[in-house]
């Protein structure tokens, strides 16, 4: 049942692509071309060869809509009938090109290394030549005539495909599943056929379709030059060549085959584009109707030291089934100098919350909130132009992947200095001086020298520190660090967490630390928000006792150096709900040991259980943790 669902979804995707203007046009054009290629010779073969001796080299008339050629053939019929040969030869040449290219491109992964190098270099050299030159070169070798030209165009296409196939298969061959297959003794040829080719097929098909358009053009060119199709056969290129002789008498004779070539080429190319759109990442983006954002309430009763106020934050994405809401009503406040940890598993919405706060969630996602204020400014209603300065100097972000957070082509110091130049209007030299100073602040050794280095010369930990340094170029009130240490080792992780803590005490900067590691968060922050399925389920002091069953389960599942080695590890059965299928009641109900009927019907709201401790649970622990309810623990899925 689910399999057909997948098929349907894929079918729907193709159908949607057909309904776009480009897709529809491409498909109908291709249909016309194919229909002509099949039917025209059957229907009009005789008419195309009929010699009308009364009308030789005439202009268009009622009898001959596009005129006649030097022998009295009707040009319209000849153009229509020529469709089959032109398209057939182009497709044939493409097939030759693709197959040769595939063989050349995949040989290096089969051959021993020296031979593989030789093939690769040969392909590289061939790629360097202009295509048309290769065609002419090949047609000299294979001789003038239809077959020679097919081979010439085919082999001229091959190097580009070889290169493409080589690059694509190299990237697939680097994946673990290929390594795993090799370890289990799968031979090279089987590896290629079973694992590599199926995974590079889609982009190759797209390129082959576009390549067919190119070879149609190339072939027409050859015939036009007289080294392609020879009389008495004719294709569009030859018709074009013949028509050109009499262009002053009958322009239509040259224009008609020309238009035919263009239209058929267009059909191939556009179909390729459409296919690429469907199977690639370029899926159509549906616009989301913006929901009326409730106007931010006047910031009344705001304490002076509040940096960030978030009330009922929602982030929604358009999806096939309407809306997916990965963040469903998150509320919290951050005060100056406070460190807050946001904990949750992947898919809990913790990163999106951080991105939404820093206005980094892009369309088609929609961010709504009853109140979202940073440093007293409503973030959702203030125009972006006015916010840029504020966010640029007062808010710093540190992301998970230190490899991608800097521009690899520019020196670290300059990238930092740019912030000061942009937002504080400092001159170049002054800005650079400040950059060096900030790098020193984040404890980059030999900051002066390091500032002149490129990101790749920095280690992962240093890059993260430089990222914090970049945040310090302004006067940050808040640093949002999204899994800043996940890619780092424990010793470097400790360095970075210490740096964050130090920055906080020295500058009174508030910190939001987003992490999946509850130990890291409780080490660094005094308060943590535990997120589950897009909601904050518990907001508690790090030193406090968790009362939500999920927080407790998460804590129990966390391994540390004190875990009992002889007992099996605690696990949370089941898995979180998909963001587009969140149940009506409590999202954790299916995995909860204390679940009751009420949990499945009503979603609990985040309520204060004691000062500074909020829990969203109908049965927070220490009250109704009946042992009989525990039996349901094992009722989860495989996970």
């Amino acid at each position: 049942m689910v399999a057909t669902e997948t098929v349907n979804r894929r079918g729907a995707k193709w159908f949607a692509a057909l309904r776009t203007p480009v897709g529809g046009f491409a498909a109908s054009l291709l249909l016309v071309v194919i229909a002509l290629a099949v039917l025209a010779p059957i229907l009009w073969h005789d008419k195309a060869f009929e010699i009308d001796t009364e009308a030789i080299a005439q202009r268009p008339s009622a009898a001959h809509w596009l005129g006649t050629d030097a022998l009295g053939h009707d040009i319209l019929f000849r153009v229509l009938v020529a469709t089959r040969l032109s398209v057939l030869l182009a497709v044939l040449a493409t097939v030759i090109g693709v197959v040769t290219g595939l063989v050349l491109g995949t040989l290096p992964s089969l051959l021993p290394r020296p031979a593989a190098r030789l093939v690769t270099s040969a392909v590289n050299i061939a790629v360097a030549f202009p295509g048309l030159l290769l065609v002419l070169f090949c047609s000299v070798i294979f001789g003038v005539g239809t077959y020679g030209a097919v081979l010439a165009v085919g082999f001229a296409l091959a190097p580009a495909f070889a290169r493409l196939a080589q690059t694509l298969s190299a990237s697939v061959a680097g994946q673990d599943f290929v390594s795993a297959a090799r370890i289990s003794g799968v031979g090279r040829i089987r590896l290629l056929v079973r694992h590599i080719l199926p995974n590079v097929g889609e982009p190759l098909v797209v390129n082959a379709t576009i390549g067919a358009g190119a070879s149609l053009l190339a072939f027409s060119g050859l015939s036009f030059l007289g080294i392609g199709v020879q009389a008495p056969d004719y294709d569009w290129g030859r018709l074009l060549g013949e028509g050109l002789d009499g262009i002053y008498v009958n322009p239509a004779a040259a224009l008609a085959p020309g238009v035919a070539v263009v239209l058929a080429g267009l059909a191939f190319n556009l179909v390729g584009e459409t296919v690429a759109g469907v199977i690639g990442v370029r899926a159509g983006v549906r616009k989301l109707a913006p929901r009326p954002a409730s106007p931010a309430r006047e910031s009344s009763g705001r304490a002076d030291d509040v940096v960030l106020v978030v009330e009922n934050l929602q982030v929604a994405f358009p999806s096939q089934a309407g809306l997916t809401v990965p963040v469903r009503g998150v509320s919290f406040t951050v005060r100056a100098g406070e460190a807050i940890g946001v904990v949750g598993e992947s898919g809990s919405g913790k990163s999106l919350t951080g991105l939404a706060v820093s206005r980094l969630v892009e369309a088609p996602a929609a961010v709504t909130a009853d109140r979202l204020e940073f440093a007293g400014k409503p973030l959702l209603t203030t125009p972006e132009r006015d916010l840029r300065g504020l966010l640029g100097t007062s808010l710093a972000m540190v992301f998970q992947d230190p490899m991608t957070s800097f521009n690899p082509t520019r020196r670290i110091g300059r990238q930092l200095a740019e912030v000061a130049e942009q937002h504080q209007g400092l001159p170049r030299a002054k800005a650079f001086e400040r950059a060096v100073d900030r790098l020193r602040t984040v404890r980059i050794p030999a900051a002066e020298r390091r500032a002149r280095q490129y990101p790749h010369e920095f280690s992962g930990g240093m890059r993260q520190r430089a990222m914090i340094g970049m945040g310090l170029m302004g006067d940050p009130k808040l640093i949002i660090a999204d899994e800043p240490t996940t890619a780092l080792d424990v010793t470097v992780q400790r360095q970075l967490l210490r740096l964050l803590a130090r920055t906080r005490t020295e500058r009174d900067t508030a910190i939001i630390l987003i992490s999946h590691d509850i130990a890291v968060v409780s080490q660094t922050c005094e308060r943590m928000l535990v997120m589950y399925a897009g909601r904050v389920v518990e907001d508690l002091p790090s030193a406090g006792t968790p009362r939500h069953p999920y927080t407790k389960a998460l804590l129990a599942a966390t391994l540390d150096l004190g875990t009992d080695r002889d007992a099996p590890l605690a696990v949370i059965p089941g898995r979180p709900p998909e963001p587009d299928r969140v149940p009506t009641g409590c999202a954790f109900a299916d995995r909860c040991p204390a679940v009751t009927d009420r949990c499945r019907l009503e979603d609990p709201v985040l309520e204060c259980v004691e000062p500074g401790h909020r829990v969203a649970c109908w049965h927070p622990s220490e009250t109704s943790f009946s042992p009989s309810a525990k039996k349901t623990v094992t009722a989860g899925g495989a996970e």
Partner: protein, 330 residues
Amino acid sequence: MTDLVFDAVSVRYGGRRGLTAVDRVGLTVSSGQVVGLVGESGSGKSTLARAAVGLSPVSAGRVLLGGVDVRKLRRRPPLQMVFQDPYSSLDPRMSIGESITEAIPRGVFSGRAARREEVARLLELVNLDPGRAGHLPGRLSGGQRQRVALARALAGRPEVLIADEITSALDVSVQGAVLNLVRDVQRRLGLSMLFISHNLAVIRYLSDIVAVMYLGRIVEVGPAEQVLTDPQHPYTRDLLAAAPSAHTSLFDTRADGATADAEPADPHHPPAGCRYHTRCPVGPLVRADREICLQVDPTEDAAHRRHSAACHFSEDESRRLTIPGGASTP
């Protein structure tokens, strides 16, 4: 039965200015034992594992499986590996049943039905519904994919299993289930296992022997409980102290000012003498009299020291630290 022995294995990439990722490493995974290999990224632990299965080139030394060089073994040695990334370790175009079937040695099961039965048995072994054999990996969660990867490795009837960071891409709640499963399967099948992780807590939970790797060398190896409660090498102590735990403070009392922000050394130009001296809190950076660390490589006579620690002063230091170093078990 089958021991996996790394005999002075070196792995070198590139030419003269290349990189020695693994430098004369000796390590034994005895039959039925779990050896945990811990170290920071870039220390060469994955490279060492990949050398065993022929995925990285051994430039010196040998990897022996049951006394035979793995390079001379037949095509399917009884050695399998599970990888880190559950999203790239399964072919997205092959059903999980096909992926597992492919790893079953040819000739062991004749006939489609027998193979299908074996796949079902393996899926059950890793607590997955055998009815899922026809599913594509795209419909499985990360934890489920790791189970499939484990089932595929077990399909090759291995005697030695290498697990390379198999839980580091998983959520905490899933990690526990996978570790329980790995331990259960290892014990039930009596597998020898090389378990690689950067997470000491995970290593501690699973391993009988712990080996600590730094910059291409093994700096300390010994029984798990001993290494973790009485570490001999300063790097091991540092790893233990840095392990995040809700019970320890971010700023511990021990003064480590001079080395707190030290950078890992450049693996292209490993430091002379002791490779750890650029970061060592008990080395020449802190104590000027310890010049020997700058000149003499402590791995030369490591075999004589406790836990084969590659540290000139391991005995002095562990005597000095009356409290067992790092995070002791609370």
